[in-house]
Amino acid sequence: MQVGDTRTAVVLENISRTRLVMYAGASGDYNPLHTDEVYVTKAAGYPTVFAHGMLSMGATGKLLTDWVGDGRLKKYGVRFVNQVWPGDTLTATATVEAIREEEGQRLADFSVSTVNQDGKPVVTGTATALIDP
């Protein structure tokens, strides 16, 4: 692994409302903004339900863990910059920004960005992982 290495992958394709229900059930975040079309259109005034930010962060994590290996992330943080809607396809990209030694461990720092099908960023952030010496 070298500074400048980059990987890109589609992490969620054509997101269904059922997937938002799956995420609500698994995570315990039952905010009806994410699953209740009647509430969200008639009471909350949105065009339709939208994804939990944490669904996008979770899906983006797959790109990182598939790359660095299981159980090797040290840090992972994101900002939620745009909403994700049913039908969106999310593509995540990670790039190695630095490789360093800390307390005898070799670490890689990554920048992370996930965009929708229009190239609009939905999640941007950073991660740090243990890598092989």
Partner: protein, 161 residues
């Protein structure tokens, strides 16, 4: 809203992994060689969010006998239990892998608050909160989470999360 007891269970991890679209056997198959290396399936990086299932006060879960602000046949008109705060940032620090079978608890600490002018006018109020996920018996830190939420002005409400 600290969680006193968060049992990390393989089936819960399986459901969470399916939901985020990551069916890596290290999360979904306890009999896989990937999971065996850790002595069980491990939790994906964002799994600790699911501790809200074990928060007795979680406001965003319908509770038996209490009005719920989501719809039934029609919008209920019940008081919204959401704070109106939107999730702005989420950060995790991992002290070691989290393995199914462990029992965690949370320790919460308030962080900073700050204000920022919105590009669309009005001000955005940010609030930071730290949550330490530690083992329930010995208090060993496993994951440290930093949540940043924002209370948007009405102008930007449609743009948030």
């Amino acid at each position: 809203m600290a969680v006193e007891r968060f049992p990390v269970e393989a089936t819960h991890i399986l459901m969470f992994a399916r939901a985020i679209g990551d069916e890596n056997p290290v999360y979904t198959d306890p009999s896989s060689p990937q999971a065996a290396r850790f002595g069980g399936v491990i939790a994906p990086p964002t799994f600790t969010m699911a501790s809200s299932q074990f928060d007795p006060d979680m406001p965003l879960r319908p509770k038996f006998g209490e009005a719920w602000f989501g719809s039934a046949k029609e919008p209920s008109g019940a008081e919204i239990t959401s704070t109106g705060r939107l999730h702005a940032e989420q950060h995790f620090e991992y002290h070691r892998p989290l393995v199914a079978g462990e029992v965690l608890k949370t320790i919460e600490r308030d962080g900073a608050t700050w204000e920022k002018e919105s590009k669309r006018g009005g001000s955005l109020l940010f609030e930071e909160k730290f949550v330490d996920y530690v083992t329930a018996d010995t208090g060993e830190p496993v994951v440290t989470a930093r949540f940043v939420s924002v209370l948007p002005s009405q102008v930007v409400q449609q743009e948030g999360h």
